[in-house]
Amino acid sequence: MRTKGIRTAVTLAAASSLLALTACTTDPSITENTGGATEGASPGATEQAEWFDQALYDEQNEQRSATFEGNPDEPWLQYIAGDMTDTSEFASEGEHKVCFANASISNPWRQTGWITMNQQLQVLQDEGVISEMETRDAKDNDNTQIADIDYFINEGNCDAFIISPNSTAALTPAVERACETGKPVVVFDRGVETDCATTFIHPIGGFAWGIDTANFLTERLQEGDKVVALRILPGVDVLEHRWAAAEKIFAEKGIEATDYFTGADPTEIKKIISDELATGDIQGVWMDAGDGAVAAIEAFEDAGKELPVMTGEDEMSFLRKWQETGIDALAPVYSNFQWRTPLLAVQKIFAGEEVPAEWVLPQEPITADELDEWLKRNEGMPDGHYAKFGGEDLPGYPEVWQQRQMP
């Protein structure tokens, strides 16, 4: 992911000069994603203005309390009632080949989802719905993913496309080209700026995450309290939306929030928290993703300070640390079980069943009351595993997730 981009940049830069090199540890792929807009010197405030979208904010705020269609025991098939896409034209017998253009598996969230997806694939192969899934991993690179999609279109011999876009704007034309083939296209996780896809699958979204987490913190903190916001990287919509919503709420409630980009590097996180603790007390920690949450808590422990009120994610390492330290925390969830849904959508599409045009999956944070239950359900899972992975009924459970077996 980021790091790969760095290495590439380093290689290129090394050819020209050593001196320039030191300046090249910034991630160029981010700049690529965002069109170089907000990176570098610009403070968080200007970014908020760019990413904040009142309409989307309001919509997701409502969806937080919406009723979902379908069986709550199978949240990966639930959706909010809305426009449906008629798929009768795709109805056909027999096995179909699916082509999957994946952005990357470069973080534990994507890896967990990727494992679940492959186990789901096994079920559908056994059922004779899917013959094979050809996957191309773009390794966090827009250009690679565009090439991957074009390869699928021209030579893939695909019956359906599943695309998990690396970035929003850059991948839009490629997704449109896939749509033009007249075959079903399923987009999931990050979005694109076109609605040509048969269905776009995603949990409620970043604003809902931001609202859940910021509300949790502001309820427990007082005006003037300090929150440190640890953010992975700029320029990815699902992450930017989380912060845009949270920043708005913090500002409204008079919470002093400082945000940092950490690259999920625990060394950075520890340094940031240590420095912040040296300048004054911190009452709250907000994270736009749970990767590195443990390092943040450890920084408080090492400094001998009172542990903060905190929001992390449903990653096992955080849930375990939460239980161990007994902090006041919330684990927002960017529903990992969404990785199952695209293949199940393909199944429905080839059966001619209608699917939601925008398939909004439930996204419920894990609260302190539910913590023990989720820990118990995921006993023996590795630290990088996500509690709401939703693969308990799939073959290979639990060994495949415990061993993190990836094809």
Binding site: R7, L18, L21, A23, T25, E39, T279, S317, P382
Partner: protein, 371 residues
Amino acid sequence: MSRTLHADSGAVLQQNRAGAGERFRRTLLTPGGAVFILLVVLLAAIIAVNPSFGEPESFIRFIGRTAPIAIAAIGQYFVIVAGEFDLSMGSVVTMQVIVAGNLIGDDDAKVIPVLLLMIALGALIGLVNGLATTLLKVPSFIVTLGMMLALFGLVMYWTGGAAQGNPADSFRQIGRGGIQDVPVLGIIPYPVIILAAAAALGFWLMRRPYGRTLIAVGDNATAAALTGTRVWWVRTRAFMLSSLAATVSGILLVGYAGVHPSVGRGYEFTAITAVVLGGVVLGGGRGWLLSAAAGAFALESLFTLLNFLGVQSTWRDTVQGVIIIVAVAAAARSWQRRRRGSTAPARAEQHRITATSAKPAEGTEQGGNGY
């Protein structure tokens, strides 16, 4: 400190007879000495901005958290002073972090064997870097760049780019724990002790024949070879020291922060910047080991200061880039002046300087004879 002065011509030896105070002053004016002034100024500035930083407990923790990069700088110093580069350092750190995370897991019994394995791996990587550079005559820039990419690719293949979980707490204590209940300081973090040991060991090594030869090789490899030095083996050992230093950094970082494929990212350049900031000349032959370590502290202090001043951390790379250019330029000019000092007119000037300083020198010498 006066090692490089010895390495210079006889005129400088004459200078060496100046009093301790005068020698100290002159030392501070070299690039390798100036970094200590810079460090003091930066620390003073940080304390001015944020007085609580100066409390013994926060300060010792700052030293502890800077220890990994200082140790990396010490390792990089050996390679740079021998006239080479080690760009593979960051990847070695990352690899060791992942090795520790994946192989130790929660099993305390595996701590020692894996630790030994990591040290062996570190030495092996250094050996390969060194042999490829010296025997295959591939420039070290390319060898270590290739090693950096190869190791990084291996790490990505192994992990898919995501963390697997932290190793046993007993292992992490090396980087996270410390001696508790120390008066005044409160705690002495183990990394501080390890850094002190590494610095002492490095300092001693540079005063051994190996260290002298290493500098000679960096200054003029041909001349060193003509005196019977096995240049290839001297340099190869420098690479091994560098990789081993990276390994120690990795062990400390696993403890301090935990396992993540981004740990160690950019370490090679931070280490090179630190070494250069410490007045060590790229191309080899000049510079002091402790100045390199001080360079690491100065760099981290600068980043901390910028952070306290509210400068966005995204500026850090730019700052680092500017520093490395300025430091290289300053060091080159300064050392050049010293070298030119050996030419006749300049030597005359030096004698004059020595002469003028003779009076106060005499005064100090009487008191300073005890040295």
